[in-house]
């Protein structure tokens, strides 16, 4: 009758299934990161469009995304996309939702980087006959992006920590697996301890990665 408070053998039993969940979490994180970093950049550039209407529209979209909860956005995509004929897996839908949400935040980071490039650099580019596109590629982005990479990295870590929200739209990620295991055995301690350890490990690794990147950039 003496049940151990923390059952190691049970922990070993569920660990492989939790690792499967972790794989899904990592997949969602990677996909969402790709979407967020690319779309975030596009949004930041869009806000600098010389077409006032484009710049205004992008600003409104970014503001809208940032001021509504991620969970609402996830439900919205999950229920609305299929009804307009876009059929995606829950994981894909979740990664898109997460990616778009963080793209809005990252666009503000990129924007700060872009605004830190002095006006004289744009003028130098005009004087050399560069097109707008070439000015972005050769002059502005190479100066705007490196200083903001650490800030972008921090958002990647934050995004990773929000992946449990995807369980709300039936993605069987790490958190969801833990819940399933817990409700099956009525033991939650082991499963959630493992979840915590796994998140801690990956967060620590990626935070270290961000830090290394930061040091590299500071040196160059």
């Amino acid at each position: 009758m003496d049940e151990p408070v923390f059952d190691w053998s049970y922990t070993w039993e569920i660990a492989p299934r939790l690792l499967d969940g972790l794989v899904v979490t990592v997949q969602a994180t990677v996909l969402a990161t790709v979407i967020a970093t690319l779309l975030g950049l596009v949004l930041a550039i869009g806000r600098r469009s010389r077409q006032r209407i484009v710049a205004w529209f992008v600003a409104v979209v970014v503001e809208f995304i940032r001021s509504t909860p991620l969970l609402v956005q996830l439900y919205f995509l999950f229920f609305v996309l299929p009804s307009v004929g876009v059929v995606l897996s829950p994981l894909q839908t979740g990664a898109i939702g997460l990616g778009v949400h963080y793209a809005a935040y990252m666009s503000e980071v990129y924007r700060a980087g872009i605004e830190s490039v002095p006006r004289q650099q744009w003028e130098g580019a005009v004087a050399l006959g560069f097109s707008r596109r070439r000015t972005w590629l050769s002059i502005v982005l190479p100066q705007a992006i490196p200083p903001v990479i650490p800030a972008l990295g921090n958002y990647v870590v934050a995004l990773f920590k929000e992946t449990p929200l995807l369980s709300a739209i039936t993605v069987v990620e790490l958190m969801q697996v833990a819940q399933i295991e817990g409700s099956r055995s009525f033991r939650y301690l082991e499963a959630f301890t493992l979840v915590g350890v796994m998140f801690l490990a990956l967060s620590t690794i990626s935070a270290a990665g961000v830090r290394i990147l930061e040091l590299r950039l500071a040196r160059s």
Binding site: Q120, Q121, E123, G124, V126, A127, L128, G129, F130, S131, R134, S138, I139, P142, Q143
Partner: protein
């Protein structure tokens, strides 16, 4: 002298910032190959004239033509500009600062662009700094790179906006030396905003004195500097000389 091609024609040009009229019905003609010095008090509109020609400012009224073309963006690659603060690209080597525009704007072959850039760097005495970053150079060296960079586009017109004003006095000479050499090569039209009256006298065919967005008088250096018609010009030249 046969009529030279009129490279730049400005008529009734008005430029305002808010309700401040910076260029006030300005007329200016610049024939091909002229070396023109623009002088005048701070705020008289010298930089604005160059910036209008470089498409960095839009005008509010009047006409500006370069090579007979009113859409200045179309002839932009025939015009080069050197700025007071150099405006080099800090993330690129000196060599890439010079090759970037020829490669991407003129679509020159990369090897050819590099070879020509090295020639230009040699001309400004910096061929041994090709792999340096701008931040590793002195102000005078950076400004010489900026001149080489502008020349790499093979412009017909070069605009110089107080290019030695940000330099320590001992570095001014090396930049003026490069400009002198460029002027002596002949087939370049140069508009030079400067406070260096000796330099203006030496290389300018004509000096324009600007006051409050208008040309108060213009003529050969000897007349503008030694026997100006207007009291304001005389006072301005004297103040610079006494400095």
């Amino acid at each position: 002298m046969p009529d030279r091609e009129l490279l730049i024609r400005m008529r009734g040009v008005v430029k305002r910032f808010g309700d401040h009229t910076v260029l006030d019905q300005l007329d200016l003609d610049v024939p091909a190959n002229e070396k023109l010095a623009l002088i005048g008090p701070s705020g008289s509109g010298k930089s604005t004239i160059l910036r209008v020609l470089m498409t960095l400012e839009a005008i509010d009224a009047g006409i500006v033509e370069i090579q007979g073309e009113r859409d200045l963006a179309k002839v932009r690659s025939h015009v080069g500009m050197v700025f007071q603060q150099f405006n080099l690209f800090p993330h690129m080597t000196v060599l890439r600062n010079v090759t970037e525009a020829p490669i991407h704007v003129l679509k020159e072959d990369a090897a050819q662009a590099r070879a020509r850039a090295m020639d230009l760097l040699r001309m400004v005495g910096l061929e041994d700094r090709a792999e340096a970053r701008p931040a590793q150079l002195s102000g005078g060296q950076q400004q010489r790179v900026a001149i080489a960079r502008a020349l790499a586009m093979r412009p017909r017109i070069m605009l110089f906006d107080e290019v030695t004003s940000a330099l320590d006095p001992e570095l001014v000479g090396e930049v003026l030396g490069v400009m002198r050499r460029l002027a002596s090569e002949g087939n370049m039209t140069m508009l030079i905003v400067t406070h260096q009256m000796d330099f203006a006298r030496e290389i300018a065919d004509r000096i324009v004195f600007l006051h409050e967005g208008r040309i108060l008088e213009h003529g050969p250096p000897s007349r503008i500097l030694d026997a100006p018609e207007h009291e304001r010009t005389r006072r301005f030249v004297k103040a610079l000389r006494d400095r």
